[in-house]
């Protein structure tokens, strides 16, 4: 069985002027059930790596295999299909639609997924229940606390049963107490076997991951134990 994510000498150069090498020759393997934290100061290339992993961007060198599939040879519609069914996103800014109910926000994740029509509402309700919001199905995200909103967003990332969840500074807009609650949710999901990659500059958040890697000036290096 192939690893979920396999980066082999991946680089990303933004054409200039001035030309910027945001990521240099990165190697990374994320196995199923892994929980990885990527840390680094802002401008270090964290976001670039996350967008590459999330198939929102293409590397300029190297190969990226997702579940053993070389994503470099796929067309845009196919990459969009993988985004819809294999990748769950959690954003710092939540990106919930304020005019829709919580359950409708979660259901949005199935709109573009092949085969996403079946039992859509039912599965959205189950996803909200799994993050502890079974009692806030019909409410509006604007009436929720920050921590609850992020849990709706996590439920949206989970509803398609993705191979990997990519979280970009998931606690960046939260205070320390609600941050801890959201990270406990991540721990719990990891405990259920979910593969998670978290980008953060918060050491507390990074400390909860099973292993950590650092990006500095576009170079990806392992911290402590764990292989690159």
């Amino acid at each position: 069985m192939s690893p979920v994510v396999e980066l082999d000498g991946v680089g990303r150069v933004f054409p200039g002027p001035p030309e910027v090498e945001a990521l240099r020759d990165a190697d990374l393997v994320v196995e199923t059930g892994d929980y990885l934290a990527l840390v680094g100061p802002s401008g270090s290339g964290k976001s670039t790596l996350l967008h590459l992993l999330g198939l929102l961007d293409r590397p300029t060198s190297g190969t990226y295999r997702l579940n053993g599939i070389d994503t470099g040879v796929l067309s845009e519609p196919e990459r969009a299909g993988l985004r819809a069914s294999e990748i769950g996103f959690v954003f710092q800014a939540f990106h919930l639609l304020g005019q829709r109910s919580n359950v409708e926000n979660v259901m949005l994740a199935d709109v573009y997924r092949p085969g996403g029509r079946r039992r859509r509402r039912q599965r959205a309700i189950e996803a909200l229940e799994s993050v502890g919001l079974g009692h806030r199905l019909e409410g509006n995200p604007t009436t929720l606390s920050g921590g609850e909103r992020q849990r709706v967003a996590v439920a949206r990332a989970l509803v398609s049963e993705p191979s990997i969840v990519l979280a970009d500074e998931p606690t960046g807009n939260l205070d320390s107490r609600t941050s801890a609650a959201v990270m406990e949710l991540f721990d719990e999901l990891h405990g259920r076997g979910l593969t998670i990659v978290v980008i953060t500059h918060d050491d507390d958040v990074a400390g909860r991951a099973r292993r950590r890697m650092r990006i500095q000036d576009g170079n990806l290096t392992a911290i402590g134990a764990g292989a690159a």
């Binding site: 069914s85 997924r113 996403g116």
Partner: protein, 416 residues
């Protein structure tokens, strides 16, 4: 969680049902804003529909009111033929005296009657056989010989009494019907005792007085006598003209047939005057009314389109985060474009429906206040929503392209 994917990778999808659902949710999320965005287009479509509808209604009304009389009228008279044969003389023989019975046999003729001015020479008309040296009792009053059908063909209304009929005409009875002006001058107000009048020395019994006529207005000031009497006693030579009332729409046909029916051997000696075709008149009225208001309606449609384009463009900028999210969730550029384009097309169609309704209502309201019959082309309420949709399509193209070319990475970085 998924392991190796055996088959080819599935492309992301966006079903029609989901497209419709997303568009409906987006448009109903802020109903007041949706309505205001559509307002310009609503007004434009309403102006166009009302303009076309009112022009049609007014055109129809003008034709109905002004030329209903003309549209059902044909007048046949001898062709004037200067300097040939009879010279200036009336070709009296061209129209036979039995014109009425010849014409009423034609399908489409409602009524027909001949009229001839009678030259009474020096003979004056008076109502009493007494010559009063102190006051004027004798008048020069025109005398017109008519066949019985002329009254109906001229749409004459009686004030009192009756008109003469085929029997009077056949026997050459000395009877007369007075126009109201003639009756006043002769001081005849009632006919139940059949008062007598005199033309020269010829006594006539007055059997009726007219109230009004729609055609042949000179009947109003004349003494009208049966045509046979005019020939026998006053030397009338030939029919001057034939007044025909035709069924609506039959005028062109009767105008072609009447000369042949009256003079089978020499129809070219007769001239049948038919009214102008109502459609042509109506079209003229419509184009006059239309051109100005169509320009105004077109301008307000352009303003409406700019309104939709403007608000949609603003909402694309506002919804940058949503666009990035949708891309992350698997939407392709084409899906984003389809969503925004469909939103503006649906908005335009919605505006078209509302505008068409408002336009139709205003046509009905104006017609009701003027007591006109509203006339509307049936295609108009159907075309209007399509016009609105086209406006939405045109207005939404640039915003949709803008939305589709939004970079998801940049879009997601923004705050919620």
């Amino acid at each position: 969680m998924a392991g190796d994917l055996g088959g080819p990778v599935s492309r992301s999808v966006f079903s029609w049902r989901d497209l419709g659902g997303e568009v409906a949710l987006a448009l109903t999320a802020r109903p007041a804003r949706t309505l205001l965005t559509a307002l310009g287009t609503i007004l434009g479509v309403a102006a166009l529909v009302a303009t076309i509808g009112l022009a049609r209604t007014a055109g129809n009304q003008i034709v109905t009111r002004v030329s209903e009389l003309e549209a059902t009228e044909v007048v046949v008279s001898p062709e004037r033929r200067g300097g040939f044969g009879g010279g200036n003389r009336n070709t009296g023989s061209a129209i036979p005296w039995d014109a009425e019975s010849r014409l009423t046999r034609l399908n489409g003729v409602v009524a027909a009657g001949t009229r001839t001015s009678v030259n009474v020479g020096e003979r004056l008309a008076r109502s009493v056989p007494v010559i009063d040296p102190l006051g004027q009792t004798e008048y020069q009053i025109p005398v017109i010989a008519a066949s019985p059908g002329l009254f109906e063909a001229a749409r004459a209304q009686l004030l009192t009494g009756r008109t003469f009929d085929g029997g009077h005409s056949e026997r050459g009875d000395p009877v007369a019907v007075l126009g109201p002006a003639a009756a006043q001058r002769l001081n005849v107000v009632r006919v139940d005792n059949t008062p007598s009048i005199f033309i020269g020395e010829e006594p006539l019994a007055v059997i009726g007085i007219l109230a009004d006529t729609a055609r042949q207005p000179d009947l109003l000031s004349a003494i009208i006598i049966p045509d046979s009497l005019a020939r026998a006693r006053f030397g009338a030579e030939g029919v001057e003209e034939v007044q025909i009332e035709v069924a609506p729409g039959a005028a062109p046909l009767i105008a072609a047939q009447a000369p042949v029916a009256l003079a089978p051997n020499t129809p070219e000696l007769l001239r049948a005057a038919a009214p102008p075709e109502p459609e042509r008149l109506q079209r003229g009225v419509e184009s006059d009314l239309n051109s100005l208001f169509l320009v105004l309606g077109g301008i307000s449609l352009i303003v409406g389109a700019i309104g939709i384009a403007n608000v949609t463009l603003v909402s694309v900028l506002e919804r940058t985060g949503e666009i990035g999210l949708r891309r992350a969730l698997g939407a392709r550029r084409s899906h984003i474009a389809a969503q925004f384009l469909t939103e503006s097309v649906a908005l335009g169609a919605f505006a078209g429906i509302l505008g068409a309704s408002a336009g139709v209502l205003s046509v009905v309201a104006v017609s009701a206040s003027r007591q006109w019959s509203p006339v509307l082309d049936p295609w108009l309420p159907l075309v209007a929503p399509a016009l609105g949709a086209v406006i939405g399509l045109v207005a939404g193209t640039y915003p949709a392209w803008k939305a589709a070319s939004t970079e998801p990475i940049a879009a997601l970085r923004g705050s919620a």
